[in-house]
């Protein structure tokens, strides 16, 4: 289903500059990333708290601490003095990431509905079919269960397919393939097969797209063992995560958001990747930790402006990695602020927030001064009417109220 590209207009100005950017040459990226390795090792990289400055971009990080939100002029000024980079929209960043990986590795192929000749319903695969041909950019019939399964099968032999669900909701038709084959084959074969597949697509609540096209599949997929889930939120991390996901030997489900495709940002010219398991420090603070991801990041940053005016200092972390959670970054933040607010777009029951609450409570209960608050969408099918749909998702005003309550 093709849909109109809806940009969160205000968010363009709100998009944070990459305070966690790091020079990819300094960061050793090994394909077999495991959580335990990260926890203990000390990498010579920028931690996502943005305080370690390895490069001139760190200047922006320091400016961030005093501002609630990084303004475009700051980032432009800072970046043009170091490396100019280039400005683009989020869907173009995804396309760049895809294109660069396809050039780099001939085993990468794309399959999905309308990705080839049509150029992709959100233009993420625009121009790829012309460049790489029909065998590497495959227009599939409308048969999600089959072509996802076929992608997984191809991945078992070593190909690296990128499967697109035109809307994440359609991947429900492929749930069996994703759960049983994609997630479990590496385990059940005793390690013989790896499934280096990337399953991507837009999800989340858009602009009145109706109940079936506004689903948040991260809550359904989070239980599947063996897969990784990431959610991009800015052009910078979209490109970085896309490249990392393609290079990863594990199956990665890559969540994009229907309303974020038109975000504009300046990203570096050079090759870079983002760590798949790492959270992003959007705004360091002292009073409360706000954990969020994808579109809700922008609602949080909007609320942060109001909160700063009211005298609060929220620490905003974009968790990015939905499975596994970056408990290292989150834990450090909890140990600092002692208060946690989770703002998510999933429904309250069984969402990412619910799991995150459990994880934080289990690991960091002693550091909490107040019960964890979680703001999620209502437990209802997303209605079509605009006014009702607005009430379904978390709005910035509710975030401000929640922080005030939490910090009493």
């Amino acid at each position: 289903m093709a849909a109109i590209f809806q940009g969160v207009g205000a968010a363009a100005a709100l998009s944070s500059s990459p305070s966690n950017s790091f020079d990819s040459k300094k960061f050793v990226f090994s394909p077999c990333r495991s959580f335990s390795v990260r926890k203990g090792a000390s990498f010579a990289v920028v931690r996502s708290d943005g305080r370690v400055n390895l490069n001139p971009k760190g200047r922006r990080a320091q400016q961030l601490i005093s501002n609630a939100v990084a303004t475009k002029s700051d980032s432009a000024a800072a970046s043009s003095s170091s490396k100019p980079g280039h400005e683009l929209l989020l869907f173009e960043a995804l396309q760049e990431g895809l294109e660069e990986e396809m050039e780099r590795d001939p085993r990468v192929c794309v399959m999905g509905e309308d990705v080839g000749h049509y150029g992709g319903s959100y233009k993420v695969t625009k121009g790829l079919a012309k460049k790489f041909g029909d065998l590497r950019v495959l227009d599939t019939p409308i048969a999600e269960n089959s072509f996802t399964g076929m992608g997984i099968g191809a991945a078992m032999t070593g190909l690296r397919p990128v499967v697109e669900g035109m809307n994440m909701g359609f991947l429900l038709l492929a749930f069996n393939q994703i759960s049983n084959n994609c997630g479990m084959l590496h385990y059940t074969s005793g390690g013989q097969f790896t499934i280096p597949i990337v399953i991507r697509g837009p999800g989340g609540v858009g602009r009145q797209l109706g109940a079936e096209h506004s689903q948040r599949l991260e809550s359904y997929f989070q239980s599947i063992p063996g897969i990784q889930m990431v959610a991009c939120s800015t052009p910078y991390n979209a490109k970085g995560l896309m490249k990392a996901a393609i290079r990863s030997e594990n199956p990665v489900i890559f969540f994009e958001h229907v309303l974020l495709y038109n975000l504009k940002e300046r990203i570096p010219d050079e090759d870079y990747i983002c760590n798949l398991e790492e959270a992003e420090m959007v705004r360091p603070g002292e009073h409360v930790t706000i954990l969020t991801y994808s579109r809700m990041r922008y609602h949080v940053m909007q609320a942060a402006k109001t909160l700063v005016n009211k005298g609060y200092d929220p620490e905003v972390i974009d968790i990015r990695s939905l499975k596994p959670f970056d408990l290292y970054t989150i834990g450090n933040s909890v140990k600092k602020t002692h208060r946690v607010l989770i703002v998510e777009e999933c429904m309250r029951t069984g969402g990412i927030g619910a799991s995150l609450i459990a994880a934080i409570t289990e690991n960091f209960n002693d550091y909490l001064d107040a019960p964890i608050m979680c703001l999620s969408s209502q437990d209802v099918p997303t209605p079509y009417a605009g006014t009702l749909e607005e009430v379904t998702v978390v709005q910035p005003a509710q975030i401000v109220t929640a922080v005030e309550q939490l910090c009493q």
Binding site: A2, H117, Y118, F170, H213, Y384, T392, V394, Q398, T401
Partner: protein, 394 residues
């Protein structure tokens, strides 16, 4: 395009029509009468594993005029929806049916309201042919309370239970197993009714279709699977998505019939035939060869994967409304002016409905929580924040 063989029917009809035409000019609106008329379909039916029905369709002036009016109404409604979408009163997805009206209208003429119809997301016109009002359509499209789903469903979720219209589904192909389930229920209650499960040429490649077809054939269900083949599945042409574009043959052991979907009379004949067949012998597939003028949805220009010449060519040669118009005029059932008046009337009706729909209010915030469960469960919903919006689901 050959419309009808006048030789057979002209002598019969002209003797009937002379008094009729004078009577018509006295009335403000034309309604025709029930005197029988036989019209030949434009192309013969092609069949698979069954005997094709005859090319000669029994009809009457009243029916033809009703066809004209209904199709003109649907066409106007879809064009009005197009403008409303561009004016941002309709948001999200909007899939328009103009060009395909003959399928909805012809099918309705062959069946009763006790037979079930289920379709995908291109459902505005099917809803109207099942008895939905224009107000319900426009109010739902604009997300207002007066809409058929109280504004909570949107363009892809029109339903009308009392006339057995089961929707209105967004996920491609998912409505076909539902349709076979409806047929199962009909067989179970021995209703002597059938179900028409409509889907597109894109959905024809869904696995669940074949699963449902197998089970329906196994259990002899009165299910009629109707493939509305408009030759493009979203942005992909049918030859790029299907190895065999003969959708009516895909049932293999299930008989099929290929129909010119731009000819309302052919559709009517086929559906009548299919209903008789399904009640006796189990499932049958109908392939309606049709065309949509708009793109897949309002955000698809519709011209990146097909040429404008193709679109205008079909519009000139195969337009369903034009065909009926020519038929009516050639049989002297109404004058050119009277038909134009009908179109004006229809346009006014649509405009009135839009104005009325615009006045309908947006749903109340409490509506967010109604109809999640059927009444009486009393589940508490916490949602976005636990203090501000807390409701017990009614």
């Amino acid at each position: 395009m050959a419309l009808s063989h006048l030789a057979a029917s002209a002598s019969r009809s002209s003797s009937l029509l002379k008094p009729l035409s004078s009577a018509l000019s006295l009335r403000r609106s034309i309604s025709g009468d029930n005197s029988p008329l036989t019209v030949e379909t434009s192309v013969p039916f092609t069949s698979h594993q069954c005997e094709a029905p005859s090319r000669s369709v029994e009809t009457n002036p009243k029916e033809l005029l009703t066809f004209f009016r209904d199709m003109a109404l649907m066409r106007r409604m879809e064009i009005a929806a197009d403008s409303l979408y561009k004016a941002k009163l309709i948001r999200g997805f909007c899939h328009l049916y103009d060009g395909q009206e003959a399928v909805a209208v012809g099918m309705e003429a062959a069946i009763t309201k006790k037979d079930c119809i289920i379709t995908a997301y291109r459902d505005h016109c099917t809803f109207v042919s099942r008895g939905g009002t224009l107000l319900e359509v426009f109010a739902e499209l604009m997300g207002r309370q007066a809409g058929c789903s109280k504004g909570k469903g949107g363009s892809m979720h029109f339903y009308k239970k009392d006339s057995n219209f089961y929707g209105g589904h967004g996920i491609v192909g998912a409505q076909v197993p539902l349709g076979c389930g409806l047929a199962f229920a009909q067989k179970y209650s021995k209703d002597e009714t059938v179900t028409f499960a409509l889907y597109g040429d894109g959905a024809a490649n869904q696995g669940q279709l074949f699963e449902a077809l197998n089970i329906s054939a196994l259990w002899d269900l009165p299910a009629i699977l109707v493939c509305e083949n408009n030759h493009y599945g979203m942005g992909t042409a049918e030859w790029r998505a299907a190895k065999s574009p003969a959708y009516y043959k895909r049932g293999d052991y299930v008989p099929g019939l290929k129909v010119d979907g731009m000819d309302a009379l052919a559709v009517k004949q086929a559906c009548k035939f299919a209903k008789e067949h399904a009640l006796k012998n189990g499932p049958i597939i109908l392939e309606m060869d049709t065309y949509r003028y708009h793109g897949h949805s309002m955000s698809d220009p519709g011209s990146t994967y097909r040429t404008r010449d193709e679109i205008s060519g079909v519009r000139q040669e195969r337009d369903p409304i034009e065909r009926i118009r020519k038929l009516i005029l050639s049989h002297d059932l109404a004058t050119e002016k009277e038909l134009k008046d009908v179109e004006k009337e229809v346009r006014k009706e649509v405009d009135d409905a839009i104005a009325q729909a615009k006045e309908s209010p947006m749903p109340e915030p409490s509506e967010l929580f109604t109809n999640v469960y059927a009444k009486g469960l009393g589940v508490e919903s916490f949602g976005a924040d636990r203090k501000e919006v807390r409701a017990t689901l009614p």
